[in-house]
Structure formats: C-alpha cells, structure tokens
C-alpha cells in the first residue's frame, strides 16, 4: 500500500484563538481593495512568482504524465507499423482480460475485508486512548503508531520472516501456512493493518480530542456509561474523520503494490504477476515492455480511484449537509 498523497495528516488546527484572525479577514481584504494600484500589481507579481515553482512541478509531474499516459493508452506499438493509433483497443483488451479482472476483483475483496477491520481497530484504539490516561495507554499509543514510521518494504520483510515456517514463530504456533494460495491475501491484509492502523488511530484520536468535552460530561452525569458514550456520542461526532480515513484506505487499497511485490518470491505461484492491477501494470511495462497496455491499466485504475473518491466525498458531504 502506498501512502495516499504523501500521507500528510489531514487536518491541522491553527494555534490560539483563530477567531480573532478570522474576524480580521474581511477587513484585511477590504483594505487590499482600497490599496493603490501599484501595491496590488506588486502583489500580483509576487503571487505569481511564489506559486511558480509549485505550478511548474504540477505541470511537469502531474499534468504532463497524466496526458502522456492518456496518449500512450490510445496507441499500440506494432512490429510492422510502429506506433499506431488504436482508439480504445487497449481499454477494450483490459476490460476483457481475465488476469486484469481477477486482480481487480482481488483488491475489491481485499478492500471490503481489510478496510472495515483496520478502521474498526483504529477506531477502537482511538476511543481507548481517548478514554484512558495511564502509562499503558501512552505506551500503547506509541506502539501502535511506530509501524507507520517503518518503510512498507521493511515492514513487509519483517512479516515475511515471521510468516515463513523456517524463520518465524507464527506457522508453528498456529499450524497455518500463511503463504499458501488460500491464506496469503489475509497475510497481506495483516501487514497493511499492522502498518496503517496506528496512523488512522492518530487521525481519529485527534478528531476526538477536538470534540467539546462538555457534551459527554453531561451525558455522563445523565448516567451514560463509557461504552455508551464512545458508541453513541463520540463515534457519530467524528464521523467525518472516519469517512476521511476510510477514503484514504480505499485509495491505498486499490493501488496495492509494494507488499505483494516484496512477498512474491516467497510464493510466486500464489502471488502472480497479475496479483493486483498495479502489480500487473508494473509487470506489463517492465517485464514485457507493453507500455501502451500498461498505461491503459494505470489510467483506468487512476480514473476509478479519482472519480470514486470524489463521488464518495460528494455523497458524504451532501448527506451531512442535509442533516
């Protein structure tokens, strides 16, 4: 799994009483309008200079590759004629390619099982550390978050050793082959959960810490227990944060790549070259030099992720606005 967009935390609150500055906002803008022309012109020049490096990068490493992938995906390279415009042939091929479709099905099943499990664990953990302050809860918070700081490659290597019957304790303890064709998807799910549950826990915990304490103080006085407060008050109140971490998890799941690629040599028969759409796109490009087909798969995957996440954001925003 790849960190969604560099894994920047999703919400940062400004220090201090932001209300004061916010109130000053409109006044400041009014002042800008009344300022002499030359000052505005100077600001316009400075504004453009300030955003230029970012804009150049945005064009060079986002728009251009996107356009290039779109173009590639519409062409085919043939021995005789070279690059030929092929309309949507690559897409047609992908949508009828059983290997690709099996990979898509696999990440969907994976997402349907792993996402709720991990978000559930993260939510439980966040509610626990929000409710209890003890030495153990502080240690727990640290322990849960540390895996996030470990590279996915190394996290996967460690679990690979732990799963292997030769070097790890797990299969002799449980008598399960964690790397067989039937189980390896769950074993991969465990790695993702281990690595990302703590990160999601911290995001949800931050949301919980932002809630006004008075609300559940008064519920407590009314006789609500800790479990009731957690489930009936805290959880609904951070639903937007839960939605957000769910979206990021789904985005990561669809792009599932690193963990299967690292574990592949342990059981190449189970983790095939088309195990996930991203592994398939990678292998098509770098093992078979099928750049056009690979671009079509990447583009399709990117489009699904992109449209899906906006629809989801839109749908949840609509619903919360209606409430």
């Amino acid at each position: 799994m790849t960190p969604a967009n560099g894994s920047i935390p999703t919400r940062v609150r400004p220090p201090g009483p932001a209300g004061g500055h916010r109130a000053a906002g409109p006044d400041g803008r009014g002042g800008t309008r009344r300022r002499p022309r030359r000052a505005v012109g100077r600001q316009a020049v400075a504004g453009w200079l300030f955003v230029t490096p970012f804009t150049v990068l945005l064009v060079a490493f986002l728009l251009l590759p996107m356009a290039y992938a779109a173009k590639l995906s519409l062409y085919r390279s043939t021995l005789v004629e070279g690059e030929v415009f092929a309309w949507l042939d690559n897409y047609r091929q992908a949508l009828a390619d059983p290997e690709f479709l099996r990979g898509v099905g696999r990440v969907i099943v994976f997402g349907l099982v792993q996402t709720p499990v991990m978000i559930g664990i993260a939510l439980l953990a966040a509610l626990l550390i929000d409710a209890a302050t003890s030495r153990l809860s502080r240690l727990f918070r640290l322990a849960a978050f540390v895996p996030y700081a470990v590279p996915v490659v190394i996290g996967t290597l460690m679990w690979g050793f732990l799963y292997s019957p030769d070097t790890g304790p797990l299969s002799s303890l449980t008598d399960v082959d964690f790397l067989s064709g039937d189980t390896v998807l769950y074993s991969l799910g465990n790695i993702v959960t281990w690595q990302w549950a703590g990160y999601n826990m911290i995001v949800l915990y931050a949301a919980l810490q932002g809630l006004p304490r008075e609300v559940y103080e008064s519920a407590r006085i009314d006789g609500a227990g800790a479990v009731q407060i957690a489930l009936r008050i805290k959880t609904p109140m951070i639903s937007s944060a839960i939605v957000l971490v769910t979206i990021f998890t789904i985005i990561g799941t669809l792009q599932f790549f690193t963990e299967p690629l690292i574990l592949q040599p342990l059981n190449p028969g189970a983790i095939t070259n088309s195990y996930t759409p991203n592994v398939y796109a990678y292998q098509q490009a770098f093992s078979y030099q099928q750049y056009n087909y690979s671009a079509a798969i990447s583009f399709l995957l990117g489009a699904v992720v992109f449209v899906g996440s906006y629809l989801f954001l839109f749908a949840t925003r609509r619903r919360s606005a209606l409430r």
């Binding site: 940062v12 400004p14 453009w48 300030f50 322990a143 911290i202």
Partner: protein, 299 residues
C-alpha cells in the same frame, strides 16, 4: 454555595478517573494485547539481528540464540557487495533531505501566496490543485519514468528527487494554516514599513507558519525515505538505490538462491539499521508527529 460545589465535585470528577471494575480492566487488557501485536515484529527483528545465518533458521524465533553475532552481522553488512549498503543509506538520506526541504519550501511559498496574496488566476489555479489532489501517485509513476527517460534523467538522482518535490497536499495544508494563523495586519504593517513581498514572507509569515512547516517537512521526509515504487521504477544503477529498493534486491537474491551466499542475516541487520534512525527520530520528535495532527496544542 460552597457546600453544593463540594458535594458535586467529587461525584463528577472521580467518576472518569477511578471507575472501578470491569471496564477499565477490559480496556487495558485490549490495549496490552494490541501493544504486543504492534511491537512483535520489532522484537523479532531485534532478536534476529543477533543471530548468524544458521541461528536464524535453527533457533527459537522469538528468543536469543546461542551466539551473539550482531557485530559480525554489522561488519558483514558494511562489507557485502563492496559496502553498497552504506551507499544506499546515504542515498536514502540524500533523497529524503533534499526532497523534504525542497517540497516544504515550495509548498510554503505557494500555500502562503494562495492564502494571503491576490493575483490573477489564483482561484483557477487553486481549484486545479483541489481537483488534482486525489490523482493517485502510483498511476503517474510509469508515464513519469517514460518522460524522464526522454529527458535523459532516468536513472539519475533527479529522477527520484524532482517528482518528490511535488506535494499538493502540503500546499493545501499550508494554505489553510497560513489563512488562519498569519494576521493580515502584521503583513500590512510590514508592507507599510517598506518591506518587499519576499521579506514580508520570510520575516513575518514563515515564523508564524513554523509548526505546520515542521509537520510538512517531517511527513515529506518520511514519505521519501519510505518510498519504494518511484525509485524502483526510476533507477537501475544499484549504486543509486535507496535502502528500500536495495534491501529488496538482496531479499530476492537470497530467496532465489542465485548461487551466492545466503544473505538472510545481513538483510535482517540491514533492516534493523534502516529503521533505527526512523525510530529515534520518531521518539525525539514525538510532539511534532502528534503535533502534525493537532498543531493547536503546539507552541
């Protein structure tokens, strides 16, 4: 009056702190089990790093073996394949620092400009940013590689560093932060004093934005240090690999056999050395990690 508060206070404040019985025990038991789960791989790694290759396969996985081979493993690690591991370590550090600092500086400039300056095209550009923020990075790696090859930059350090400088999320974050925390009056005052826009930015805005800058820096550096897909695709010269790609090549050749020496103990100690700086940074910068998500508490 005072008797009322005295009577009321213990009832409400004692309840959360010392609720007796099952709930607290159950919640601590759950936390204890989960702590063991999250720390288990680290414990295994620490123990395994002290074993030689035979010990790795022949002893209790979760306890120390007969010998103590940590130092032998470390010296193997730095000499294996002509000391290439140290180059990987250096590369990882280089990519993380240059990308982290560069991406943060670029995001700070843009975020500040979006929040506090008025310039034509601002709204459209910011809308483009918001629209593109969800484009999945992995879908872009392959076309970026092909473009980099055409520019003659594939298989150079720039192929890893330049794409890592783009951080739309960082721009968004810093824009929100600058908007709420940098007071317009201070900017105006500096302008009236005759400061140029760059000076206003570096002297007035940047110090105020510091907590958010640290967060963006920390998270970009870690994301680059941990990145795998991009360098995997971009680089074929093993001297340019970061740790993640390098360790994977060792892992592959160890499993496949390849006739070479079994490297598993070297990989284990290599993995340990690769995560030690991260764990130390994590523990030292704890408040910034957590601060990244609750900057409000930071000062």
């Amino acid at each position: 009056m005072s008797t009322v508060t005295h009577a009321g206070a213990p009832a409400t404040s004692a309840a959360p702190a010392r609720r007796p019985g099952g709930g607290r025990i159950a919640s601590h038991a759950v936390m204890a089990v989960m702590t063991v789960y999250f720390l288990l791989p680290f414990w295994w790694l620490l123990v395994a790093a002290t074993k030689d290759n035979d010990g790795l396969f022949g002893s209790q996985p979760l306890w120390f073996g007969d010998g103590f081979a940590l130092f032998d493993n470390l010296s193997l690690l730095v000499t294996q394949d002509g000391g290439v591991y140290l180059k990987w370590l250096r590369n990882s550090a280089l990519y993380a620092v240059v990308s982290g600092v560069g991406a943060t500086a670029i995001a700070a400039l843009a975020g500040y400009a979006f929040a506090k300056l008025r310039f034509p095209g601002q709204g459209a550009l910011f809308a483009a940013l918001l629209g593109l923020i969800m484009v999945p990075a992995t879908a872009l790696v392959l076309p970026t590689y092909l473009l980099m090859s055409e520019a003659g930059l594939a298989d150079t350090v720039w192929a890893v560093i330049l794409p890592s400088l783009l951080n739309p999320f960082g721009v968004y974050l810093l824009r929100v932060y600058a908007h709420d925390s940098v007071p317009d009056e201070m900017l105006e005052a500096a302008r009236i004093d005759g400061a140029g826009e760059l000076r206003v930015f570096t002297r007035v805005a940047l110090p105020t934005m510091r907590p958010a800058l640290v967060t963006v820096l920390l998270f970009t550096m870690v994301a680059t240090w941990n990145n795998f897909f991009l360098p995997l695709v971009m680089l074929s010269d093993n001297e340019l690999f970061p740790l993640t790609v390098g360790l994977r090549t060792w892992y592959m050749s160890a499993i496949i056999g390849n006739g070479g020496p079994a490297l598993f103990n070297v990989i284990v100690v290599g993995a340990l050395v690769a995560i030690v700086p991260l764990i130390i940074a994590f523990l030292l910068l704890q408040r910034y990690w957590r601060g990244g998500l609750t900057v409000g508490a930071l000062k």
